[in-house]
């Protein structure tokens, strides 16, 4: 399963990127607008939620627990420097999807205990966008983590993130990782909708 993380370029807005993703067949969208205020994000999130509802897609927002609650989004993704998962769970209640970023198996165990519903695990490789302080996992890192999760019977979905390109996807899914989160690749393509379709096809062999 593929999670699309919104982004923007000189040509396209956050909402454009979400429209492309949905039109290309993606059904799991994360709105990430680091550095913006909740007031900046609110109207965009509202529109994105409406687009996702029309498409039957799951819509989550990065970091902004209060906004998720206010707008009734499907969930929130919490990075390492965001609100702790247990605290977000108290605010959002049991029916909200909470995802947590993990770099190690220990992070996953902690997130699982704190009631996370999925794990964003990375970075797969070095990226210039974020989390540069965390060690790169690569395929071996994922294999190892998936095995540790199996043994610990932690059955959370785990989504690979961080510098992933279309060509990496089959090998990553081959490690037992259950999903892929993608950001940059879509808008860099000359035809973003077509690129999303292509990538969706790769994840569904």
């Amino acid at each position: 399963m593929l999670q699309f993380i919104s982004h923007y370029t000189d040509r396209y807005t956050y909402l454009d990127s979400i429209r492309f993703a949905l039109e290309g067949g993606c059904r799991w969208v994360q709105l990430r607008m680091k550095g913006a205020t909740d007031d900046d994000v609110r109207p965009i999130a509202r529109e994105a939620l409406s687009l996702c509802r029309q498409a039957g897609a799951t819509f989550i927002i990065d970091d902004r627990v209060a906004l998720v609650k206010e707008l009734g989004a499907d969930g929130v993704h919490l990075g390492k420097n965001d609100m702790p998962i247990a605290e977000a769970r108290q605010l959002l209640g049991p029916n909200c999807i909470i995802g947590g970023t993990a770099n190690t198996f220990a992070d996953i165990v902690a997130h699982h205990r704190a009631s996370a519903n999925y794990i964003g695990c990375g970075p797969f490789r070095f990226t210039t966008t974020k989390d540069n302080l965390s060690p790169v996992l690569g395929l071996d890192g994922y294999r190892h983590i998936v095995e540790q999760m199996r043994q610990a019977r932690i059955d959370l979905p785990i989504v690979a993130i961080g510098g992933i390109t279309a060509g990496d996807i089959p090998a990553i899914l081959g490690t037992g990782i259950t999903g892929i989160a993608l950001s940059g690749a879509i808008l860099r393509a000359s035809d973003p909708v077509k690129e999303m379709k292509r990538i969706i096809n790769i994840t569904q062999p």
Binding site: M1, A57, D74, N95, S115, P157, G176, T178, G179, T203
Partner: protein, 65 residues
């Protein structure tokens, strides 16, 4: 029939996703399901037939499991 749900093996009598959702007591809200990596919308669960060794990914909120 045997399925892989979030990488764990599970034996089920469910014939389609809707029956599986009932068997797993998935909540009415806050659930995303993929079969062999393809997301399946809730409206299609009842018509989505399951096959032996299907890999199911369920992202669901904490309640009920």
């Amino acid at each position: 029939m045997k399925l892989q749900i979030n990488n764990q093996e599970r034996e089920t009598a469910a014939r389609n996703l809707q029956e599986l959702a009932e068997e797993l007591q998935l909540p009415a809200k806050g659930v995303a399901v993929a079969v062999n990596n393809a997301m399946v919308m809730r409206a299609s669960w009842a018509t989505h037939t399951l096959s032996e060794n299907d890999r199911i990914t369920i992202v669901k909120a904490a309640c009920g499991g």
